[in-house]
């Protein structure tokens, strides 16, 4: 009854291509945007921003980038953490070399550095296929983290080896650095994520998205349909690494405020990969759903001892968190490999025909 699609006919191809062929979907999205842009900022406290809202957006963006490469184009990548690092360090160098540069511009530019590195490590995908390709991104992962530590120029020869984000203003508001408020950083991230998600949706539903999916499903057949495999694979690496690099820059500049090389180590890569898998490979929405789950889980677990009155040390909570994530991964891969996005699709189908059973 609520989600009735009866009566909504498409009378032109243009209407058929619309993002929300069903009106209720558009209303739902509008609601989410209102929540994100208006309701949360008015009601959330600093903890909610820093522990939930901002990281969910950043992780969702990183997962979105990874999903384009692994979910749409079928090229497995285990180097997401390192590529995020490239974006972060590139942004840091840009800001320290050009202190007057607008932070948005710096972030947009730093994406190109991670894109270039991503393409470089994506070149092996032209020779090596399937699971063996994991070695290329793993090599990138371990090599780059080593480089972040050894190449002192990256962190301006700082004795601690870490980078600190300076105070940066935009239009009179401090958006980065110790003086920035959690809310301004949230809006900054929300804006960037909204824009990039919009672009990603458009690119994946058009001819380039179709080409990527063809390469993913059967690359020989794709070639025989006239698709240039090299351009398809490398473009996937480029776009994916661009987005991931920006997520990395946001990770440091708009959330953590500082970074050491081991922040971008393999656990980060796996965390983003898990978000993409649990959310649903080949979906845009899934990245957000997965990020909400993965970010909220430790926070919820942290509150459990209070709620149940059982004393559990924070170390144990962390171990439980890791265990549950491992179990979730396994469960999703067995039960619903298409992730939370598929769950949503099923619920939506049921809503459409409700209250009828079928």
């Amino acid at each position: 009854m609520l989600y009735r699609t009866a009566g909504q006919f498409k009378t032109s191809y243009e209407a058929d291509f619309a993002l929300f062929p069903v009106k209720q979907d558009a209303i739902l999205l509008a609601g989410v945007l209102v929540l994100a842009y208006v309701v949360f900022p008015l009601t959330a406290n600093e903890f909610a921003f820093r522990a939930l809202l901002t990281p969910v957006l950043i992780y969702a963006l990183a997962a979105l980038g990874l999903n384009i490469l692994t979910g749409y184009a079928g090229q497995l990548s285990l180097g997401t953490g390192a590529f995020m690092g490239v974006g972060a360090y590139a942004c840091y160098k840009l800001i320290t070399i050009f202190p007057e540069m607008n932070l948005l511009v710096a972030i947009a530019l730093s994406g190109f550095f991670s894109a270039a590195v991503g393409v470089a490590f994506g070149l092996p995908s032209l020779r090596i296929k399937g699971f063996y390709l994991a070695i290329a991104t793993l090599a990138a992962q371990f090599f780059l983290v080593w480089l972040f530590e050894k190449w002192a120029w990256l962190y301006n020869y700082n004795a601690s080896g870490a980078i600190q984000v300076p105070n940066i203003e935009m239009f009179g508001i401090t958006v980065a650095g110790p003086r920035a408020t959690a809310m301004s950083q949230y809006y900054f991230v929300l804006f960037v994520v909204t824009v990039l998600t919009f672009f990603a949706i458009n690119v994946t539903r058009g001819r380039i998205g179709r080409i990527w999916k063809s390469v993913r499903d059967m690359d020989i057949a794709a070639e025989l349909v006239g698709i240039n495999l090299m351009k398809a694979k490398l473009s996937a690496f480029f776009v994916s690494s661009y987005i991931v690099g920006i997520a990395g820059a946001l990770f440091v500049f708009a959330w953590r405020g500082a970074a050491e090389p081991n922040l971008f180590d393999i656990p980060l890569s796996f965390r983003v990969l898990f978000i993409a898998i649990i959310g649903g490979l080949g979906s845009i929405l899934g990245n957000f759903l997965g990020a909400i789950l993965i970010v909220a889980l430790p926070v919820v677990l942290g509150f459990l001892p209070e709620v149940f009155g059982i004393p559990i040390s924070s170390a144990t909570v962390e171990h439980l968190n890791v265990m549950i994530i491992g179990a979730l991964i396994i469960t999703f891969l067995i039960v619903e490999p298409h992730g939370l996005a598929r769950f949503w699709a099923v619920i939506r189908e049921k809503l459409i025909i409700w209250p009828f059973p079928h």
Binding site: Y13, E14, D16, F17, F199, N202, V203, R205, G206, R207, I208, R210, I211, K213, S214, R216, D217, M218, I220, A221, A222, E223, L224, V225, G226, I227, N228, S235, V239, G282
Partner: protein, 274 residues
């Protein structure tokens, strides 16, 4: 902008060859894998507008021959002349650019995508709007998408697969999958269509449907067709000329009635040692 697209607008592209002239000329092609000789010194041609059947017992080298034609394999000897251009080797996507499309014995569809998307994928070569326009979607990218959607819908109508437009092809029965694959090949607007056992695994009704489609493609659109097929009835009824392969060599090359009666051909199929 409502443009009606009629069948005559999807004729085989203008490829510079007149009906009845030689479109494809295979000259003394030999192909071997390691020590195995798949094709030995074969020559034959395909005329524009005809339906040419390639037949022979299993292992005769028929699929290898198709693979050579569309550039998947490079022969060690011999040349191929297509639309007047001579070459020995060609990359597969170059072949597509030249106007060669094909289907496969084991259906090579993109299993994760719908029928519509699979056939739209066939238009990839003709779609050009770069990523900048794609990011915006509205404007030139959407216009291009709509333009090609019209062409694809025309093919979907022609092949009578409207009802499975949005179904993921992995879920379709085998016979329909083969039809979708034909649709994808047609979407490339080929001059030469290579069909590798298009009727394999089909029942009588499905074969009749497929035969009708193949004939229509040839007669309505003027597409030249080369097909591999085992069903002799189909071969004799559909094709204009037949070439017979056995153990990688050509043993007959003529119109169906004559080939049917050729003793060498009969021996090859019956397994008479020779």
């Amino acid at each position: 902008m409502n443009v009606q697209v009629g069948p005559d607008q999807l004729l085989a592209r203008d490829d510079g060859v007149a009906k009845g002239e030689v479109l494809l000329d295979i000259r003394n092609v030999s192909l071997s894998f390691g020590g195995v000789k798949a094709i030995t010194d074969i020559s034959f041609n395909v005329l524009k507008g005809e339906i040419r059947a390639i037949i022979g017992p299993n292992g005769a080298g028929k699929t290898s021959m198709l693979n050579v034609i569309n550039g998947f394999y490079t022969p060690q000897l011999g040349t191929i002349v297509f639309r007047g251009k001579q070459r020995r080797s060609m990359k597969p996507h170059e072949a597509v650019g030249q106007g060669i499309a094909r289907t496969f014995q084991n259906v090579a569809l993109f299993k994760g995508m719908s029928t519509l998307d699979n056939i739209m994928a066939g238009r990839s070569v003709m779609m050009k709007r770069n990523i900048g326009w794609q990011m915006l979607w509205h404007g030139p990218a959407l216009a291009e998408e709509i333009e090609h959607r019209r062409a694809v819908e025309e093919i979907i109508d022609f092949l009578e697969i409207q009802h499975i437009r949005r179904t993921p092809v992995g879920k379709l029965p085998y016979g329909l999958q083969k039809r979708v694959e034909l649709g994808r090949a047609l979407a490339m607007e080929p001059s030469l269509l290579l069909l590798d056992e298009p009727m394999a695994g089909m029942n009588l009704e499905e074969k009749e449907d497929m035969s009708r489609f193949i004939l229509d493609v040839n007669q309505q659109r003027g597409t030249t067709i080369a097909l591999i097929e085992h069903d002799m009835g189909v071969v004799m009824d559909l094709s204009d000329r037949v070439v017979v392969l056995d153990y990688g060599k050509k043993i007959a090359d003529d119109v169906p009635d004559i080939v049917k009666a050729d003793q060498n051909v009969i021996d090859a199929y019956l397994g008479v040692p020779h």
